[in-house]
Symmetry: C2
Subunit: 369 residues, 2 copies
């Protein structure tokens, strides 16, 4: 069988839960991943499209970020992509519809026909931050504000400084992309959006469950809430009651547990990675998610972005806590760009990970199961 993996997205926001592995049914988004008992994910973290959108420098960085993604996708041919938040630097985007930038970030994946899922980072729905130097002489520079039909208009017309809400961004992504498996998540978890689970099926059997959580920031505090933790617990116990299916968790901002395992100076075993250049910038509070993950043996690893100068995986009790690799040319830091790759093998089962750099090199391979 050429297509051994059926990759199915299910609407698990509300009970009763559905769990069907149908392919191509009209009421269920379903993607068939072409692969040979290997399911491979590329994580694109902190792309920061739209950074300094009013300068020449900013759009150049976006072009560079497109090149990074293309390089990774060509070298790895993943079955799936995770956009791990800070897709855009919304606080630099002076237009009403920041989805125009968000959409650019999706384009290398979309153009290759690869399905993806995205979660929000703290920069994605931030309102515009006016640079204070614009209030001194010589004042506000002319702002070119792209509008839908590719024309431009100046400050006061199509420009807007209020940001685009998470809900708008996600709906725009979902409405315009058949390859997007992202979800807005249960309304009961709002203002957090992007809370959902994607079961991955291999030969009609569950291979792994991918959980996506919104770790906040931007318009609301940087936390994974108690309500989100409770939702994870309820859903995971419901669709994976005996814990036989391994679970991976993706969100943007490291939890405080990352601070506990962070190497003090040089990276050393049991941690695996290549850069440890800054302190963990953790969430504001721990509201219960880590306790729940830790108690659930089926949870194998958590993946976050946010810290551009960290790319390690470290064990935390029976879990792995991993950083992605800064993928975008937007955002602080000049460490070389790359992408954390995850590979889930079916026979025998294993989860491995490494980092693929823009220049094609590979490093920091680690076994996570």
């Amino acid at each position: 069988m050429a297509c051994s993996f059926y990759f199915t997205v299910l609407s698990l926001c509300y009970l009763p839960l559905l769990f069907r592995a149908t392919v191509g049914s009209s009421d269920q988004q379903t993607v068939v991943v072409q692969s040979n008992h290997i399911f491979k994910i590329a994580i694109f973290a902190d792309l920061h499209f739209g950074e300094d959108a009013w300068t020449d420098w900013g759009p150049e960085q976006d072009v560079n970020s497109l090149k990074v993604m293309s390089s990774v996708l060509e070298n790895e041919s993943p079955d799936f992509v995770v956009y791990l938040g800070d897709v855009i630097t919304a606080n630099n985007i002076p237009i009403a519809n920041a989805s125009l930038y968000w959409d650019q970030a999706l384009s290398p994946t979309r153009s290759r026909g690869i399905p993806w899922a995205s979660v929000f980072g703290n920069h994605d729905d931030a309102p515009f931050e006016w640079p204070i130097e614009w209030f001194a002489a010589p004042g506000i520079p002319p702002l070119l504000c792209p509008v839908q039909n590719s024309s431009y208009s100046i400050l006061g017309q199509e420009c807007s400084f209020r940001g685009t809400s998470r809900l708008e961004l996600m709906k725009n992504e979902m409405d315009n992309n058949v390859l997007s498996l992202s979800r807005t998540g249960p309304e009961g978890l709002w203002p957090g959006i992007s809370n959902y689970v994607l079961p991955v099926l291999s030969n009609d059997k569950p291979l792994v469950h991918l959980y996506f959580l919104d770790s906040g920031g931007g318009t609301y505090p940087e936390v994974v809430s108690t309500a989100q933790a409770d939702w994870f617990k309820r859903v995971s116990e419901e669709i994976n009651p005996d814990g036989r299916v391994p679970e991976l968790v993706f969100w943007h901002i490291p939890s405080k547990a990352y601070r506990k395992v962070a190497p003090k100076f040089r990276l050393h075993k049991p941690c695996v990675g290549s850069i440890n250049k800054e302190k963990v910038a953790a969430q504001e509070a721990e509201m219960g998610i880590m306790k729940i993950l830790d108690k659930r043996p089926s949870v194998k690893a958590v993946f976050v972005g946010h810290n551009h100068g960290l790319d390690w995986c470290c064990p935390y009790r029976k879990l792995w806590l991993c950083f992605a690799r800064h993928t975008g040319y937007g955002g602080y830091g000049n460490w070389a760009r790359g992408s954390r790759i995850l590979q889930i093998n079916d026979h025998p089962f294993s989860i491995s990970s490494w980092i693929r750099m823009e220049d094609g090199s590979v490093h920091s391979e680690v076994i996570l199961s």
Copy 2:
């Protein structure tokens, strides 16, 4: 003549400037102030309507603030009111149209037929700030979101967390109130709104020019910009070329010059006031306005709010720098509430000021000219 003061508002946002003292003309908003050679202004500062809007405590504070304003208006019978910013605590208001709260703050003045002008403070256009404790158990409390037709709806319906823009707030005020002399200000000074001048006429002659400036905060930095300073210079030189008309300036956040004159511990002469309970929370940068005001002998005083624990006037070179008095029960601090009163006498010319407290008492009288 019973009405000796003609109070006229002129559209001075764009050149060529108009300067006409017509009363009741259809193309010019004009107010005749009933007074006997005395023009009296009450300053309502930091009312903070809508604070903790989802609690019982919050709306009670708004009722208390209405009582303060009513007491001051009954005791002083001013000809004019200045709303000196932080009219609302927008970062606590979970509805799309924060003008519903803004309008409550205007009501005691409007119901007495008194004209007014308003400027923005840092809290007026702030987006909603989600309390972090809402993300722990027991979660987000039920939010009652008042809508225009006095009904309520719960989170997700009429609730909104994006704030109401300065422009919307000001347009709503102007469109719905014939007594409002507020203006949105020249577009060239945006995102700062509320940049305008009101000439006050006595017996068809200019008595005083009231300048209103937006000192920012909320959605953009806390500054009076170079562009605003240039605008003030240009307009004041144009409508008052020989500096014969005294000028008073109103904005919300104290400039850095306030720090220089602030009494270190106890209040003492030449400063006049009753409380000196905190450090001056000044603007982020000085972009030129103070130099321009200082060089212009016709400018007599600047009035700001923002610091609820300060109510003094201190001389700064040839100017007076004055704080208003915290008027609202919203906002931090429990110092007794009151209002700074300004009185401009025509014959002989003088500008005096005092503070009228909620309980009717008066203190801190000072001559500012």
